[in-house]
Symmetry: C2
Subunit: 172 residues, 2 copies
């Protein structure tokens, strides 16, 4: 039974709106920059960045990539397919787990990443950090860190008994 929660006070409401608004605007600007500079979507850029910058080997399992990116699994497959078709990554079965897929960035992928990264940095610096001092940025990061933790550890839904979900084995 949904107990009517207390409405958000103006301060929180403002913070909520500002957060969503800033993120949307920033995302749109970044997307535009990426499209013009390197024909990349935001998701593709995130994947390349994760592979090229966060990984010493340049490889990741699809699942690991999905953890870093919010989007749905199917969307991830789609974008990874586009990246592969563009020659920026390769997909191969994982050595340990036959059903896993390992995605590896190619040299062309690294080159493309290096190509768009400066512009990306420039846009983020200009739009997000121009009005913020270094101390502000630090405060923002420290404010958001626990929120991120909290969201990532909270299940998507509280109740909802998950109607016998998942993979039915014997298909045909």
């Amino acid at each position: 039974m949904p107990v009517t929660p207390p409405p958000l006070d103006p301060v929180r409401l403002g913070a909520y709106f500002a957060l969503m608004d800033v993120a949307s605007l920033l995302r749109h600007a970044v997307e535009q920059q990426l499209r013009e500079a390197g024909e990349l979507s935001y998701v593709q850029f995130q994947l390349l960045a994760r592979l090229g910058l966060d990984s010493p080997t340049g490889s990741h399992r699809m699942t690991d990539l999905a953890d870093g990116v919010v989007y749905s699994r199917s969307g991830l497959t789609y974008q990874a397919g586009l990246l592969e078709k563009a020659g920026l990554v390769t997909r191969s079965p994982s050595p340990d787990d036959e059903r896993g897929v390992t995605v590896t960035i190619t040299d062309a992928g690294r080159a493309r990443l290096a190509e768009v990264l400066p512009g990306h940095t420039e846009v983020v610096s200009r739009l997000l950090f121009e009005p913020l001092s270094h101390a502000d940025a630090e405060a923002l990061a420290q404010l958001l860190a626990p929120v991120r933790e909290h969201m990532r550890s909270t299940p998507p839904r509280s109740a909802a008994p998950r109607r016998r979900g998942g993979a039915r084995p014997g298909g045909s």
Copy 2:
């Protein structure tokens, strides 16, 4: 000539990632709640909220709505069309400006809004504000306010001479 900008220091990079991540997660959670509680998309909810809560008359021009929402004009038309088909708003030509369209929320629209609002508040409170004190929320709002201003006042692109943009007159 894109002068290579200095890369983002770790603090700013962390703030940037945290911001985008938190906003994405929150948006997904909110979208899910809205879909389950009231068959509304996020954009539709924003439009209804703007009409039902922000406007004394319950009406707005399309342009005013577009200013509050980030999405494209065509997307706005699409969602407004869906809302109209669902009977939650009406669209009529603006009295002053014959080419403007005024969107007005209906009683059914207000009812639907009242229906989903508690759940929406609950999700936002739980996901975003549970790990934040009231002072934290205030700090967050004050940090983001100038950023929002800055983004909204900055043109989408700096250079790019806008190739003779807009409406070409003699179509046929």
